[in-house]
């Protein structure tokens, strides 16, 4: 996978917006349609890290974007004390929709628990017209 972006975001309410800005700057390396999808899914994962990752105000969220052929891979990692993802449940008025969007929109996704960190990743397959 060729690396397109490696960034550290300061945890907070603004982190998702900052992540979307960084993703937007990947155009034209990534096509416009795919960028919109990546930005939405990144926004969901960074928001989950902030809300569920148990991060402090000085903690960071790592964002890595890479590409190989038609596949764009994104990894969002935090070193928080939480779970980074909400407990499995049916989405409701209280939330749970973010991960549902990631599940439905990505080609593949998953969670990797490291020593003291959690990475949630997804892959999108770009369309012919967006390559």
């Amino acid at each position: 996978m060729g690396s397109l972006l490696e960034a550290k975001l300061v945890s907070g309410r603004q982190a998702a917006r900052e992540a979307r800005r960084l993703v937007a700057d990947l155009h034209p390396s990534i096509g416009e349609t795919t960028i919109e999808d990546v930005a939405l899914l990144v926004s969901e994962l960074v928001t989950n890290s902030y809300r569920h990752g148990g991060l402090g105000p000085n903690d960071t969220i790592s964002l890595v974007v890479s590409q190989e052929g038609p596949t764009v891979r994104v990894e969002v990692t935090d070193a928080g004390r939480g779970t980074s993802i909400p407990a499995p449940r049916t989405p409701s008025a209280d939330g749970g929709w973010g991960l549902e969007i990631v599940k439905r929109k990505s080609a593949r996704w998953g969670v990797e628990k490291g020593k003291g960190s959690t990475t949630v990743w997804f892959e999108l397959d770009t369309t012919d017209q967006d390559r």
Binding site: A93, D94, G95, E100, I101
Partner: protein, 112 residues
């Protein structure tokens, strides 16, 4: 204006319109929640969520919309909503917009 998000409340003939423009995400959510609660506390006959100016909406918007539906139902406020294409797309991604219309019979762009 708060970053890339703005909110505006307009009242006319008892109908309150909550205009939101820009990017609706977790950074903007507290502003919307605060405005919604202030509106619903006054229990106007009708509330229109005018989200046609949204250029981005993630699942925060879904949560806020569901929260608004509950608040309005409890306060007997007639709720309708009007969404930008990107906001509508986020709702459609999880297949929720049709379910909302079925369950709550609202939404001004129901027939699009």
């Amino acid at each position: 204006m708060h970053g890339d998000f703005s909110i505006d409340v307009v009242e006319e003939d008892g109908v309150v319109r909550l205009h939101c423009a820009g990017e609706l995400d977790i950074a903007a959510a507290p502003l919307v929640e605060e405005a919604l609660r202030a509106i619903v506390d006054r229990a106007p006959p009708a509330l229109v969520l005018d989200w046609t100016g949204l250029t981005f909406m993630d699942s925060t918007g879904i949560r806020l919309l569901l929260e608004t539906l509950t608040l309005c139902r409890n306060a007997d406020v007639d709720l309708t909503w009007d969404l930008s294409d990107v906001a509508r797309r986020t709702l459609d991604l999880v297949g929720i917009h049709d379910a909302l219309l079925r369950d709550f019979g609202s939404g001004s762009n129901a027939d699009e």
